[in-house]
């Protein structure tokens, strides 16, 4: 009875019976909401990844875990929507509104719960990070996965004409708009809360319009409260910074979001700490670090003209270099925002002899015509693709090219001078053997970290003696060096090197894998249980999917895998330039659209077209494999853009065809979306955290070829 009454009052039902205009308007609103969901979801995804990176270790494992959880839970949401019985516009409107508002709660929760769950200041291990990411990103990811196929189901239930392919296209247009808006505009000017507010605005508006059109005025009025609160909290001056107090304390002097990360400056008792994405990268008065970094290499040289510092120029560093009266210091730092904040606070003091160059260090080394007496690299451990580029054979070769005769390169890696574990011996040995291929002499000095000095000239470990010869006064080295860096420690470290350990190259980044093992050792855990569990469930999932769904699974897998490979290769060659990396990601997003449009157009041609797309992808992967194996040379940046665009176009092309082959009347959208998303999740994890670090780029491409070849066989046998 109640149900009947409700149906009688349902304006949508009424419109079906009394005219199509009203229905079209509602359908149009839902379609616009799909577009708006695309905009919002991509922006929220970008903001969420950055947020988790600011909370936990910013390595590939964390990035992959965030994307993995997101994609898997979205896939789950899609699956659930497939079986959700009630197809109601009212419910859809409310879900859309919740989807628009939830991200603010999600980001706030990520910030606030960290110190509730974990110990303040602690970096947790793999499994706690995974659980935290999964728990806090699941509600939104689930809704995103649920809402798209559900929107289609609602439209269809009301008799609207809209296909899964059209849904896919509409969502893609939203994704592209959201990606471009967020990556190229919002991230430059707004903080995360404001980005969420701006990117969710359209979805909020459409949701409210839907509620009004459904004449649910009470719901509308009730909805206004969270909507107003949403915007007040997003744009209010105090709320967003206050959510950072848990992590940074209340002494925040400066808070900036740059495309490269979160820059926070705190001040306590007159002393500054500079944070980059949650990690304290510099604290005032760290004279030990400055002296070790500068004097160990520079005191080796008889004559110093130009010095290149790649990162790490804060605090006392320039003053220590200037003790050698060099002609000039070039200081390369990637993030202009970091430079600005450090300069404003006096952590970087402008000096006549110093030029600050805001660019990628490797890019500068590749393109500069200058010759340097010394190149001092002060970067974090090479546990990410981005940083590993500074510890490879190719990088050392490029660096040697810009060094004067007998010039020196120095950098450091974390290790305990009292004891070397097997994994750290591997790490040091791999880098030692790599740098030794390029320089005649390599000396390890076990200081606060293990310092690598590489030169064709002679090297000495008696640093205090060299400083004494030059009458250079130091605070740390003068009194502590002989006690800390004893002869037996130097001997112990240098003799620990295993000459058989393979080298680290751009396309075979072995050290990333070694460092990930070191990371797991630190927590006494192993990812094996996780991987085994995942593999088991994946096999079960695949055994239940339709053949067409498997094709989309493999396509999602390959699309994310290729995107990671392209981003990796691009960074190796051109450096990490935010806008260009953003352009690559956008090229992938853009390619999906024409692919989906073409697929929609030719969807009736079925299996043949699916096979052509499969062949196209395999061909593109083979081309990539040939390039990565035999050339690895620079090629125009546009080639990477074109490659990404073409590959994703083929991916987008397959979706409407697979949907058509299964049959629209059975509402396959949810299953197809799920397959695509689960495949993308698996591809992210497999390529980013396993295949590239373990076996290198070529092996990763071969893995993708095999995945696609298997799906081709599936299509052929279908």
């Amino acid at each position: 009875m109640r149900r009947k009454n409700r149906n009688n009052n349902d304006p949508t039902k009424a419109s079906i019976f009394h005219g199509t205009g009203y229905l079209m308007n509602l359908t149009s609103l839902i379609i616009v909401s799909i577009f708006a969901t695309g905009i919002s979801s991509i922006a929220v995804q970008i903001v969420t990844v950055r947020e988790f990176l600011s909370q936990f270790s910013g390595n590939e494992i964390t990035i992959s875990l965030v994307l993995f959880c997101w994609l898997i839970v979205s896939g789950l949401g899609s699956l659930v929507s497939r079986f959700f019985p009630k197809k109601s516009i009212n419910l859809y409107s409310i879900i859309a509104l919740v989807t628009a508002l939830l991200p603010l709660i999600q980001i706030t929760a990520i910030r606030l719960f960290r110190d509730t769950i974990f110990i303040h200041g602690e970096s947790p291990g793999f499994y706690p990070i995974f659980l935290y990411i999964l728990t806090l990103s699941a509600p939104y990811a689930f809704l995103i996965g649920f809402i798209l196929p559900y929107s289609l189901a609602v439209i269809k239930a009301r008799g609207g004409q809209f296909t899964a392919g059209q849904l896919y296209i509409t969502d893609n247009i939203g994704d592209i708009a959201g990606g471009v808006l967020c990556s190229f505009i919002l991230l430059y000017f707004l903080t995360p809360f404001k980005i969420i507010a701006v990117s969710s605005f359209l979805l909020i508006l459409i949701s409210l319009l839907l509620i009004i059109r459904m004449k649910r005025y009470l719901i509308f009025l009730i909805s206004l409260f969270p909507v107003i609160a949403f915007f007040v909290f997003s744009f209010g001056q105090g709320f967003e910074p206050s959510t950072l107090f848990n992590q940074y304390g209340s002494n925040i002097v400066s808070y900036q979001e740059s495309p490269y990360g979160r820059i926070v400056l705190t001040k306590e008792k007159g002393e500054y700490t500079l944070w980059e994405s949650g990690t304290p990268i510099f604290s005032t008065f760290n004279i030990t670090a400055a002296e070790e970094k500068v004097h160990y290499p520079l005191c080796q040289l008889d004559r110093i003209e130009d010095v290149l510092l790649v990162s790490g120029g804060m605090g006392e560093t320039f003053d220590e270099v200037l003790k050698y009266a060099p002609r000039h210091i070039d200081y390369v730092e990637l993030d202009p925002t970091l430079i600005r904040v450090a300069t404003q606070s006096g952590l970087l003091s402008p000096k006549a002899q110093v030029t600050i160059i805001p660019t990628d260090g490797r890019k500068h080394i590749t393109h500069t015509n200058k010759r340097y007496s010394a190149v001092i690299v002060d970067l974090p451990e090479p546990d990410t693709f981005q940083i590993n580029r500074f510890y490879t054979k190719e990088f050392f070769e490029k660096t040697k090219r810009i060094l004067e005769k007998d010039g020196i390169l120095s950098f450091s890696l974390i290790a305990n001078p009292n004891y070397l574990s097997e994994v750290r011996i591997k790490k040091l040995s791999s880098i030692f053997n790599t740098v030794k291929q390029c320089f005649r002499n390599v000396l390890l000095i076990p200081g606060r970290e293990i310092y690598f000095l590489a030169s064709d000239g002679q090297l000495t470990a008696d640093i205090p003696l060299e400083l004494k010869k030059r009458s250079i006064v130091t605070s740390y080295i003068h009194g502590f060096y002989y006690g800390d860096v004893t002869k037996e420690r130097i001997k112990f470290i240098n003799e620990a090197i295993d000459p058989a350990e393979p080298t680290n190259t751009d396309f075979r980044p072995r050290v990333i894998n070694i460092l990930s093992k070191e990371w797991f050792k630190k927590y006494g855990t192993s990812p094996n249980w996780f991987m085994a569990g995942l593999l088991g469930v994946l096999v079960l999932y695949l055994s239940l999917t339709r053949k067409e769904e498997y094709v989309l699974f493999s396509t999602g897998f390959a699309a994310m895998g290729v995107e990671m490979l392209i981003l990796f290769s691009f960074q190796v060659i051109y450096g990490y330039i935010y806008l260009k990396v953003g352009a690559i990601i956008t090229s992938f997003l853009l390619g999906l659209l024409p692919g989906a449009v073409l697929g929609n157009k030719w969807k009736k041609r079925g299996k043949g077209m699916l096979l052509r797309a499969e062949a196209g992808m395999i061909l593109l992967l083979i081309v990539y494999l040939i390039w990565a194996t035999f050339s690895q040379s620079s090629m125009p940046e546009s080639v990477f853009l074109l490659y990404g665009f073409t590959f994703s176009m083929l991916c987008g092309f397959q979706f409407p065809i697979a949907a058509e082959m299964i049959g629209e009347e059975r509402s396959p959208a949810a299953g197809l979306f799920a397959a695509d998303l689960v495949g993308a999740g698996a591809g992210t994890l497999a390529i980013g955290t396993l295949l590239i670090p373990l076996f290198g780029v070529q092996a990763a491409i071969i893995g993708l070829i095999l995945i696609k070849a298997a799906s081709t066989v599936v299509v052929l046998r279908a």
Binding site: L76, L79, R82, F83, I119, H120, G121, E122, S123, P124, Y127, P128, F130, L131, T266, K269, G270, T273, W275, G278, T279, P280, S283, T284, F285, N286, I287, N416, N418, Y419, L420, S421, E422, S475, Y476, H478, G479, F480, Y482, G483, T486, E488, K521, K522, G524, T525, W529, F530, G533, G536, V537, L540, Y541, L544, R546, K547, M661, I662, G663, R666
Partner: protein
């Protein structure tokens, strides 16, 4: 090709998804112990003992047995081990109803350090110390800089072979006056340390214990008869912080200080000033009050600057001004000798006479530039200066 999924199949799929969540969720919280979130104390490793003893094993000291289960009595963890279990410190196992140490004669680190590095500022300045460590620790400090040996089993680390007599012989051959049991937690290799210390004492070599102080009375009493000096961490004066950052408790550490004082072992105290935890002036005042009441003003206190390390790498370095503030508080409260560490070039490395305030030892790092103590007394005002000064200052560069 085209087929619907039935309700039954749907339930099956959901079952698999639940399996995924359950499988992954299983791994998250080790042992499912809730207190692990905020109390990181270690736990016994069930069925983790090796099947057979190895060359570097010895029957443990200070344990009780009912013929089957054993209970280690060396440290306040008092690990109750069933056959095949391994202790919290990872070094002790129950094999056949007996407690064995797996860390005997197998040091994983051997170095020669300046005594000031321990840090000991009032114990034979400018001498060298033969420093050894075997694997293991009864704490779980989040900032441990030696975690690769302290948080590992003896079987998991690369090690040398150096039995107690060999350690003493090596120190003698190198003409080094002291042996330090350091880097990891020597309480976890108690038997090795005890036997070495006993032999060293017989050969006129001094013994230095660098420890977290988490040890029971009886084993410490036994050890103390051979100890010449100790540097013991007083990581904070708050039991909650001990549980959260270190995986231990405060009272046993305080008991250790009292016992060392009672036994006349020279010791110095070290507090790592972790920002947000151990930097509270009020806590420092309470800590100094306890020290003065129970131990007196003469034992030096070292405040060390914290740098992000190991798992505790999302905190800033301690501001130098915070260290100076705590030092001022401690001096005002009445501790005679308060030093700062990890701040090269700071005046607080020097020793000042607590009576006339003149400089007794001017230090440049580990080296001594000026030494104004004669026969253990201030050269200027003749006040006795607490410590073990020896006949003369040796080896200063």
């Amino acid at each position: 090709m085209k087929r619907h999924i039935s309700r039954k199949e749907f339930l099956k799929e959901m079952g698999f998804i639940s399996l995924l969540v359950a499988t992954e969720g299983h791994c998250f919280w080790p042992s499912g112990k809730n207190e692990e979130k905020k109390d990181i104390r270690g736990h016994v490793f069930k069925n983790d003992a090796p099947k057979d003893l190895w060359k570097w094993s010895i029957e443990g000291f200070h344990y009780t047995t009912n013929g089957k289960d054993v209970q280690c009595g060396v440290c306040p963890n008092r690990c109750y081990l069933r056959p095949g279990d391994r202790s919290v410190c990872r070094s002790k196992v129950n094999i056949g109803g007996k407690l064995y140490s797996l860390a005997y004669g197998n040091p994983c680190a051997i170095h020669i350090d300046p005594i000031e590095k321990k840090p000991l500022s009032h114990f034979h300045p400018a001498t060298s110390v033969f420093s050894i460590a075997a694997a293991g620790c009864n704490f779980r400090c989040l900032n441990c800089q030696n975690w690769e040996i302290s948080q590992r089993k003896p079987e998991e680390v690369n090690h040398y072979e150096l039995f107690p007599a060999d350690v003493v012989r090596a120190a003698k051959e190198k003409n080094i006056p002291s042996i330090a049991y350091t880097y990891s937690e020597p309480t976890s290799y108690y038997e090795y340390m005890y036997d070495t210390a006993r032999l060293a004492r017989a050969e006129g070599i001094k013994n230095v214990w660098v420890s977290n102080g988490y040890i029971n009375r009886k084993p410490l009493e036994d050890l103390a008869q051979y100890l010449d000096a100790a540097n013991v961490n007083l990581k904070s004066y708050d039991d909650g912080i001990y549980r959260r950052l270190n995986g231990g408790t405060l009272q046993p550490v305080l008991n250790t200080f009292k016992l060392l004082h009672e036994k006349g072992v020279w010791f110095e105290m070290t507090t790592l000033v972790v920002p947000g935890y151990v930097d509270k002036p009020e806590m420092t005042k309470r800590m100094c009050g306890w020290i003065l009441k129970e131990l007196g003003p003469n034992y030096p206190l070292h405040f060390l600057r914290f740098f992000p390390r190991y798992k505790l790498d999302r905190l800033p370095a301690t501001p130098v001004k915070t260290l100076e503030l705590l030092r001022d508080i401690a001096l005002k409260e009445g501790i005679h000798y308060v030093y700062l560490g990890n701040v090269p070039g700071h005046d607080a490395y020097n020793t000042y006479c607590h009576n006339c305030q003149k400089i007794l030892i001017r230090r440049i790092g580990y080296e001594i530039a000026e030494f104004n103590i004669n026969d253990g007394r201030c050269k200027f005002c003749n006040t006795p200066i607490p410590g073990r000064w020896g006949a003369q200052v040796g080896g200063s560069k």
